[in-house]
C-alpha cells in the first residue's frame, strides 16, 4: 500500500487561499504596508511631499509639546469613554424596552435607526443648528420666558465635547440598539421562564444572566463603536470645526490638518503613528485572543 505523494502544504485549500488574495493583499499592502510607510515617514521632515530625510524623533518631540495635540488626546479620551458607555447603555436600554413585546415596535425601531443612514456631515450640521444659542434650543427656551436659561454646548469650551457627543449618540445609538435587539432575540426563551419562576427581578436577570450571555454581540458592537470613535473627524468638522478655539480638536483632525493644511506630512504622520500605536496596543492582543485562538 504505497502512500500517495503528499500534496504541498501551499496547495492545500488552494481555492480558499486564492479567494483570500484580496483580503491578504489588503491586509498586507494597505494596512501593514500603509502603516509601515506612515511610521517610516514620521521620522522624516517631509513637508508637502513625502521625502526620506530623517530627523529622528524630532516630530514626536514637537507633537507632545503641542498644546493642541494634548487637548485632542484628552478630548478623544473623554469622548471615547463616554460615548462607548452611553452608546452601550442607551442602545441596550432601548433594545430592552423594544423587546417587551410592545406595540408599534417597527415604528420605534425605524425612528431610532434612521439617523444612522445620515452622514456625520449632515448630523453635524443639523445639531450645530439645533444647539445654536441664538435660534436653537437656548433661544427658544429663552423666548418662552426663561431668560437665564443657558444651553450652548458648542460655544462653551468647557462642554463643547459633550455637545458633539449629543450628536454622535443621536447618529450611532440606533445601530447599537439594533445589534443589542438582535442579541436579545437570540436569548433562549427558557432563560426568561426560569428567571420568572425563580422570582428574579427583571433588571437582575438582564444584568447577571442575559448580558453575560450576549458577550459576542457586545464584542461586535465594541469593534464597530470603537473603530468609529478613533476615526472621529467629520462630525467635529461639521459641528464646530474644532472650536471654540481648539476646545473640540480630535487626533484625526490634527493628523489631517498637519498633513494638508500645514503641509507638514512628518508631523501628521507622527500623530497618526501615535494613534495607530495606541490602537495596536489595545486591539491586536485582544483581537488575537478573541478571534485567533478560537477552536
Amino acid at each position: 500500500m504505497s502512500a500517495a505523494t503528499r500534496p504541498s502544504k501551499l496547495f492545500k485549500n488552494l481555492n480558499a487561499k486564492i479567494a483570500s488574495i484580496p483580503m491578504i493583499l489588503t491586509a498586507l499592502c494597505v494596512f501593514v504596508g500603509g502603516t509601515t510607510w506612515t511610521v517610516v515617514y514620521s521620522f522624516t521632515d517631509s513637508k508637502l511631499l513625502p521625502r526620506l530625510r530623517f530627523v529622528g524623533i524630532e516630530q514626536y518631540e514637537r507633537l507632545w509639546a503641542s498644546q493642541r495635540w494634548i487637548v485632542s488626546i484628552e478630548n478623544l479620551a473623554i469622548y471615547g469613554i463616554l460615548s462607548l458607555v452611553f452608546s452601550l447603555v442607551i442602545g441596550f436600554l432601548l433594545a430592552a424596552l423594544l423587546d417587551q413585546k410592545i406595540r408599534f415596535e417597527d415604528t420605534f425601531r425605524t425612528i431610532f435607526l434612521y439617523p444612522f443612514a445620515l452622514s456625520f456631515i449632515v448630523t453635524g450640521l443639523v445639531w450645530q443648528w439645533i444647539l445654536n444659542p441664538q435660534f436653537g434650543v437656548q433661544g427658544i427656551v429663552r423666548g418662552l420666558g426663561w431668560e437665564s436659561f443657558s444651553f450652548d454646548p458648542l460655544y462653551n469650551a468647557d462642554i463643547v465635547i459633550y455637545g458633539i457627543m449629543i450628536a454622535g449618540l443621536w447618529q450611532g445609538t440606533g445601530l447599537v440598539m439594533c445589534l443589542m435587539l438582535a442579541g436579545l432575540r437570540g436569548i433562549d426563551e427558557d432563560i426568561w421562564k426560569a428567571a420568572r419562576v425563580d422570582g428574579i427581578p427583571m433588571w437582575k436577570t438582564y444584568l447577571f444572566i442575559v448580558i453575560p450571555m450576549m458577550r459576542p454581540v457586545f464584542i461586535t458592537t465594541l469593534v464597530i463603536i470603537a473603530s468609529g470613535i478613533v476615526k472621529l473627524y467629520d462630525l467635529v468638522v461639521a459641528q464646530t470645526g474644532g472650536g471654540p478655539g481648539n476646545a473640540s480638536e480630535v487626533p484625526a483632525k490634527y493628523v489631517y490638518e498637519f498633513m494638508f493644511r500645514a503641509q507638514n506630512l512628518g508631523q501628521g504622520f507622527a500623530a497618526s503613528t501615535m494613534m495607530l500605536l495606541t490602537v495596536a496596543i489595545i486591539v491586536v492582543p485582544w483581537a488575537y485572543l478573541e478571534f485567533g485562538r478560537r477552536r
Binding site: 500500500m1 504505497s2 502512500a3 500517495a4 503528499r6
Partner: protein, 359 residues
C-alpha cells in the same frame, strides 16, 4: 477483506491530543459502532475517516487504498449527520442529486438512483418538498438517502438519531438495521446511546479519551468489559459497583460479607490480593428462591422501588453500599421488605480499584 483500516492515527488540536495513535480494522460489510461519552473522540475519528479533518499522524485506508490525503468526495463514503444537514434551499430531490451532479453522473443514471433510493427509504412522495416541510423522521430518512444515493462502499453515521424523539428513534433504528442487512455495506456508526450500539452493531468500539478501550462483539463487551469504564458505560440500568477487598481463597470481602470467587475466571496474572471493585449487573442478581441456589446469597432490606413497566428495579444496600437488582414486575415488593438476594460470581466482573482494569 478489510474495508476501512485506521493505522496509528493521531490528531492534535494545538496541544490537546484528541486521538492517540489509534488503530482500527473494519472488515467489509461490518456494522461497527463507535460508542463513548461526549468528548471521547468518536466523532473526531469519524470525521478523520471521512476526510473532513486532517490527521496529525498515521494513515487511513479505505478499500485498500490510502486515502489519508484524499478529499472526502474521493474516498467512496457517504455520511449522515446528527442535524441532518439537508440543504435548506433545495428540494429533497435536489438534496439527493447534489452530490451526483458534482461528480458528473449522467442525468438518467441520477434519476435511476434516486428512484431506487426513494423506493428503499419510502420517500417517493416527498421528493418535491423542501426540508422545512418535512418532519424530523422524514428529514433523517432523506439524509440517509443522500448517503445511499452515492452508491458507495462505506457509510458513516454521526449520531444520526440523537435529534429524534424516543419512538422515532427506535423505529429508525430498526430501519437502519434492515438497510444494513439489505445492502451489506460497511457502516461505521457513532453514538453515545448504548442501546443503539447493542442493537445495531456487529462489533462495538468503546472509546474514551481518544483511545479505544475495547473492541468486540456487543455481547462480549456486555459480559466481559475490560475495565470499569466500559462496564459502567454499557448496560441500563447501570452495573452495580461494590468496593471491597480481594482475599485469598479466593474471595471478595465487602465489609463482613465474603463473596466466594471459586467460579470466577481471572484475567491475566494481576495481583489477586488487596482492594478491588466488584461489578455485577442488576439483571444478574437473583431474588427469592432463585437466590438460594446461587453460590452467594444475602438477606437485604428493600429501600426503594422503581417500577419500569416490564420489570422493576429494586434498590437495597449491601453493607453500606447501594445495590440495585431487577425483578419481574409481578413480584409485589414494598419498601421495608426483607428479601434474600444472590448472584453467581461467574457473571460478575472484578476491577482493579485504582486503574479500573479487569482482574
Amino acid at each position: 477483506m478489510t474495508s476501512v483500516l485506521v493505522r496509528d492515527v493521531s490528531l492534535n488540536f494545538g496541544t490537546v491530543e484528541v486521538l492517540k495513535a489509534l488503530n482500527l480494522d473494519v472488515p467489509e460489510g461490518e456494522f461497527l459502532v463507535l460508542l463513548g461519552p461526549s468528548g471521547c473522540g468518536k466523532s473526531t475519528l469519524l470525521n478523520c475517516i471521512a476526510g473532513l479533518l486532517d490527521v496529525s499522524a498515521g494513515q487511513i485506508f479505505i478499500k485498500n487504498k490510502n486515502v489519508t490525503w484524499e478529499e472526502p468526495k474521493d474516498r467512496g463514503i457517504g455520511m449522515v449527520f446528527q442535524s441532518y444537514a439537508l440543504y435548506p434551499q433545495m428540494t429533497v430531490k435536489g438534496n439527493l442529486s447534489f452530490g451526483l451532479k458534482n461528480a458528473g453522473v449522467a442525468k438518467d443514471e441520477i434519476e435511476k438512483r434516486i428512484a431506487r433510493t426513494s423506493e428503499i427509504l419510502q420517500i417517493g412522495p416527498l421528493l418535491e418538498r423542501k426540508p422545512s416541510q418535512l418532519s424530523g423522521g422524514q428529514r433523517q430518512r432523506v439524509a440517509i438517502g443522500r448517503a445511499l444515493v452515492r452508491d458507495v462502499d462505506v457509510f458513516l453515521f454521526d449520531e444520526p438519531l440523537s435529534n429524534l424523539d424516543a419512538k422515532l428513534r427506535s423505529e429508525l433504528r430498526v430501519e437502519i438495521k434492515r438497510l444494513h442487512q439489505r445492502l451489506a455495506n460497511t457502516m461505521i456508526y457513532v453514538t453515545h446511546d448504548q442501546i443503539e450500539a447493542m442493537t445495531l452493531a456487529d462489533r462495538i468500539a468503546v472509546m474514551k479519551g481518544g483511545v479505544i478501550q475495547q473492541l468486540d462483539a456487543p455481547q462480549a463487551i456486555y459480559n466481559r468489559p475490560v475495565n470499569r469504564f466500559v462496564a459502567g458505560f454499557l448496560g441500563s440500568p447501570a452495573m452495580n459497583f461494590l468496593d471491597g477487598e480481594l482475599a485469598a481463597g479466593p474471595s471478595f470481602k465487602i465489609g463482613a460479607t465474603a463473596v466466594p470467587l471459586a467460579r470466577y475466571t481471572f484475567d491475566g496474572s494481576a495481583s489477586r490480593i488487596g482492594p478491588a471493585v466488584l461489578g455485577i449487573r442488576p439483571e444478574h442478581i437473583a431474588f427469592g428462591d432463585a437466590a438460594k441456589a446461587s453460590p452467594f446469597s444475602q438477606q437485604v432490606e428493600v429501600e426503594l422501588v422503581e417500577p419500569m413497566g416490564s420489570d422493576t428495579l429494586v434498590w437495597t444496600r449491601l453493607g453500606s453500599q447501594n445495590l440495585s437488582f431487577r425483578v419481574e414486575a409481578e413480584k409485589p415488593l414494598t419498601v421495608g421488605d426483607k428479601v434474600l438476594i444472590g448472584f453467581d460470581p461467574a457473571r460478575a466482573s472484578i476491577f482493579d480499584s485504582t486503574a479500573g482494569n479487569r482482574i
